[in-house]
Symmetry: C2
Subunit: 267 residues, 2 copies
Amino acid sequence: MGGEIETFRPPVATVITMTANSDPLVGMTDKLAIHTAISIADRKLLLRLPYTRHVVQAGEYLMREGDSPDNFSVLVSGFAGRHKTSGEEQRQIVTIHTPGEIFDLQQLHLETADHNIQSLTRCEIATIPRLAPRQLADERVTIAGALVTASLIELAVAREWLLNIGRRNARARIAHLICEMALRLSRKGRPPRQSFQLPLTQEQLGDAVGLTSVHVNSTLKALAKDGLLPHSKHGVLIPHWGNLVGVADFDSRYLHMNLNRETAPSL
Amino acid sequence: MGGEIETFRPPVATVITMTANSDPLVGMTDKLAIHTAISIADRKLLLRLPYTRHVVQAGEYLMREGDSPDNFSVLVSGFAGRHKTSGEEQRQIVTIHTPGEIFDLQQLHLETADHNIQSLTRCEIATIPRLAPRQLADERVTIAGALVTASLIELAVAREWLLNIGRRNARARIAHLICEMALRLSRKGRPPRQSFQLPLTQEQLGDAVGLTSVHVNSTLKALAKDGLLPHSKHGVLIPHWGNLVGVADFDSRYLHMNLNRETAPSL
DNA sequence: CGGAATGTTGAACCGTTTCAAACGGAGTGG
DNA sequence: CCACTCCGTTTGAAACGGTTCAACATTCCG
């Protein structure tokens, strides 16, 4: 993990406020991003932790198969993905992480990674040393439960992706991914974003939905021609949410966005 | 959930020993099945819990999308699966559960289900009321962590399935599923089973790997012709593990079977 | 035994891949 | 400022893998 590195050690029990991130990509401030992570867990406690910020370029590996990372991280801005590759060097992206999400989490329990994590675009990442959250979680059962909730949602998303890739055609697959992103990039309880930046290459999109970049290209063109997804380089614009949902066969319930994470059960 | 129901309330602090299950399907005793669940968690405590046993026929729903089940269960014998369906009534099996595994677990955190659970064969199921494990987990952090480990492994398997369905051809997909089952049906630390019963229909297999039953049929025939998977109704026989692994592009690490669950971190 | 579910086979079809070539834009160095 | 390169996008043609449809055989189960 390269890039410039700066270390923060925010004062205890103080909410961090940073300057707004000017990147129109996510329109999210650092504060928001960190806050999202916290809202899954316990705000005051997590904010007390020391953490390190990194900026990584697109395509850098944050974790490799076989690694045993000893930290966990919050994606502050940009997009990152988990992927696996088959013997024939075919890549499959199995998760796309959006700003505010925690990753590396699973390694706390599973020890060695069975997949890679790679930045898909230029990313900012806040890293928290491994021990801190572990200690925390032991003390505060609520936090442990909340972190679990995050993995369970990731599992729910993986299940929907299985349906998407296993049983839907190219048109629906791509539309479905766009719908998911529109919702995940919106704030909790808000409607899906009508427009947003999704600076992924067509090859990356193909790797996420199990298609070749060539076919992604022609499908994207077809969706544009039908007025479902007007063409723009790396921006998404959804003229009519209902129509897109229709071709995507999209049902947002699997995202569990209605869940009140503050009051999740404490198992 | 239908079928005959009998209720057990084993004496406190006594290990249950039952008669061997004569079903050659899994060659597992009830004791073993329960023990498997316990080995993920904490044996003595979990065995103290009251539970109910059910026998369900193939094809019965144990949970439906939208349900908020208030219990969790151990699959004692048989196979069960989680599935989702697309708008065109296309089914995708996203998880196959083998004897000894816990399911319904995720509902403890997510409240409403985003998928269905259905018995794929005749199954025996031990059900534990919801409250008990929750209370337990609060008391014993070890148990909570162990249950989390189980979900994280399910997530790791889902990721591999995404690669399987998204990037491998029919031949490799089916071979891969067989390899996975051979390993998951073996005891921890043991080599993969060389032969076992897998009484799934070709349609169910197809739903698991994203193919039609017709194509599963011809692929199965082709695998048999090549001596990789000799044909027998619902039994699997693997003459040469290495060869099958080769066509499946199978790497068992994602199953995390080497993991010592007793000493998993307690997060 | 009879009916339903599952397995089997072949032929036509079609969605997606593969291969190949060209294009466009962004960044770099001369 | 142009030429050059790199990367991603675009397009077309041919090949392929898997689906669909349809008919029939077989097994399972009440």
